[in-house]
Amino acid sequence: MIIPQIHDIDKITFPNPEEIRLKNNIPLFGFNGTQNDIIRLDLIFNSGRWTEPARLVAESTSKLFKSGTAALSSFQLNEQIDSYGSTIKATAGYNTFNVSLYCMNRFLEPSLQLLKTCLTEITFPEHELELLQKNAIAKLKVSQEKNDYLADVAFKKTVFGETHPYGYETNEEAIRNITQALLQQFYKQDLQPNNCTVFIAGKYGDTELQLIDKYLGDWNQEQGIKNTENNVFQALKSEQKNIRITKEKSVQASIIIGKEFFNKHHEDYASFVLLNTIFGGYFGSRLMSNIREEKGLTYGIHSGLSTLKHSGVFSIQTDTNLENLDVCLREIYLEMERLQNELIPLKEITLARNYLLGKFLGRTDGPFNQIEVFKSYFVENLTINKFEDFVETIKQTDALSLQGLAQKYLQKDTMYEVVAG
């Protein structure tokens, strides 16, 4: 059998989006060109946990985003949206409030009309809030039975502190404290056109753009709204580095090791992404090869960098049998040390780099991938040409600089260790 030669991936380029302004000056970015006649439209507001007046208000607003207006009950509103086969969905992030519409082009107009209703007319009826609170508390109890959930909550609290928007925990008290007035205040203050950017992907032409302008372009800014986007929070890190949560009758434990980290603005970002890939970022990584493929201690182990607008998190996560817990932890730290003490062989770097370049290529593939990447850069205040810079950096990072990064960022004594189980 002749083993085929591997070719380098040609230049990776990220297409520029179409950029227009709606009548009321809302910026719109679009990626066009799917086969099917479908549109995904996203509105992103500078908002989220960062600007909410009390805990869980952003999230609760998103969950009650279709809870009814003065004229329409929740059921009537949802039935209308469903009748076109469309989906309108709101989610609250740490620094954003996101509203998405998925629909077939032939139902774009009525779907936009309903979207506009959701953006401007929701009253957050008391009985809808009460039911949400009751069911959220019940679902929280189910989550609290899961080790990975418990570990994740404890980890964020440890790294950012209980009062920080990136760190606070969902608990019964916070759920009970949500009021209709808080939701209405947040909705009115944050969901305003001057705080909004629109993104579209799918197949669209002038007709679709005109419809979007018709419904979102005549949306007027409410006067006298104060923007709270400039809130400042101080991360209150825990003094204690090791957190152990014991859960009876567990057969496995969830482990998270990590710390607060930088985001995409940092000069080491792209080269660290390569280092992380080698360490625990893909199936061929050192953590996976050693702890899963060599020792069979876990079903999966991953490390990753998640970047946020004002910060970032680096973490390693896995689940393992309780009796193997110590071996597993020891091996994770050992792999960190190896990266600091030994140069990574060229072959291993090439492998990880090529894999990563394949991933970057994938992010340029088609309007739906493009819009995802574009939005993620946008919310961190980065222009999309950074994408190609990152690709270049990844191509050029060598063994010596990877070792330097490991020495700088992967010191055991800087890490928090959370074990739940």
Partner: protein, 413 residues
């Protein structure tokens, strides 16, 4: 409309090609017609364990993943009760790398003790992580055994019990490989930025010379259910839950589409019946869902819900039955039906935007015997009318055909 072409090589391997020149990628998707239903009752979990072993390297490659990753590619696999599916996605310039790798592991897999030992442990950790150490994690173990009397759908893909996986021997594994991993038992889909001629030539170059035996197609039987079944278990869970399951038709039966639309009428979207009535109005359930299992043979229609604290089990059960009865007694009105069809159509359109989804769907429909279902299903769903749904409900939702599992918290004992 998704264009594709189909060709069967001399050794029985089916090739399906689908061209999409807008993507820089090609997908090599290999489906083997073997799943958990082909396992021996006393040695379950095998098809899935074997999927793990397929990454252990083959005659010409010490490792499967590395050459593929070096080619800028990504890969994964999944196993279900009916089949096992492997996919590789690479930049188009490197199409030959996965072709070579897949062909080699189709007949020259390196099955050895070391990899079996490790993967047995990995699968046991997977078993614990997803089925033991999770609230409600063992529901499917219980429910499948309740619903099916004979059919090997009685056990889930992960295996009936940990011990079956722990006891797997090298001989068992080798026998499984030589029985089921044959060119004639596989469907190869090449999709993406590759021309038809090139796809055909490459398939012949890499797979054409592989020889193998023919795998006999097995027919599985399952008797009609004539008596209601009920079971109660007590576990460490925070909320009482109820599962009501009915056996339904197989995937190719004309009723299949009516069954799917029925489940959507009951629970797809916030305005669906179960959600509106039982969660919002009655406040009897924290969450509720109705769905079908979409298996090749006799499938399942399942209604499952987590019950609000303080609501009696009997009341919760009655409320579900009242909605099922309503489906039998009254015809669904046109607008409600159209709503579900529109949702289905939107979902299908968005799903088709992904090349990987198209590739996997083509392989799956070919397994069902008609790759063109990828283009026909839209009409099949559109043809479902209120009579079909009512007939389906009348035939299916009867007490004698029901299987009810009460999954309760320990304190309520």
């Amino acid at each position: 409309m998704i264009d594709y072409s189909r060709e069967v090589l001399d050794n029985g391997l089916t090739l399906i090609h689908h061209h999409d020149k807008t993507t820089p990628f090609v997908i090599v998707n290999t489906l083997y017609k073997v799943g958990a239903k082909h396992e021996d009752e006393h040695r379950t979990g095998f098809a899935h364990l074997f999927e793990h072993l397929m990454f252990s390297g083959s005659k010409h490659f010490a490792d499967f993943d590395k050459p593929l990753q070096e080619a800028g590619g990504e890969n994964n696999a999944f196993t279900n009760n009916d089949y096992t599916n492997y996919y590789d996605m690479v930049p188009a310039v490197n199409i030959e790398t996965p072709m070579c790798l897949e062909a080699d592991r189709m007949v020259n897999l390196n099955i050895n003790k070391k990899s079996l030992d490790v993967q047995r442990k990995v699968v046991c950790e997977e078993f614990k992580e997803n089925y033991i150490n999770q609230p409600y994690g063992n529901v499917w173990h219980i429910l499948r055994e309740m619903v099916y009397e004979k059919h090997p759908y009685r056990w889930p893909t992960i295996g009936k019990e940990l011990k079956h996986v722990e006891d797997a021997t090298l001989e068992d594994v080798k026998a499984f490989y030589s029985k089921y991993y044959q060119p004639s038992n596989a469907i190869l889909v090449l999709a993406g930025n590759i021309e038809k001629e090139q796809a055909s030539t490459l398939a012949k170059t890499y797979f054409g010379e592989l020889t193998g035996s023919v795998v006999e197609k097995r027919i599985f039987e399952e008797p009609e259910q004539t008596m209601a079944k009920e079971k109660t278990v007590y576990e460490d869970v925070p909320l009482n839950a109820i599962y009501i399951a009915f056996k339904i038709c197989d995937r190719l039966h004309p009723d299949y589409y009516a069954s799917d639309v029925t489940s959507d009428i009951l629970s797809n979207g916030t305005s669906s019946r179960l959600h509106q009535k039982l969660v919002k109005e009655e406040k009897a359930f924290v969450e509720i869902d109705a769905y079908i299992t979409s298996s090749d043979d006799i499938g399942m229609f399942v209604v499952e819900g987590k019950i609000t604290d303080g609501i009696e089990l009997q009341k919760a059960t009655d409320l579900i039955w009242a909605e099922l009865k309503k489906m039998q007694e009254e015809k669904v009105n046109e607008s409600e039906l159209q709503k579900c069809k529109n949702k289905m159509l939107t979902y299908m359109n968005f799903s088709e935007a992904s090349l990987l989804n198209r590739a996997i769907s083509l392989a799956y429909y070919e397994l069902l015997g008609n790759a063109n279902l990828i283009n026909e299903e839209e009409q099949q769903y559109d043809a479902v009318n209120a009579e079909h749904i009512q007939q389906f409900a009348q035939k299916t939702f009867t007490k004698e055909r029901s299987n009810t599992l009460f999954y309760l918290k320990k304190e309520s004992k």
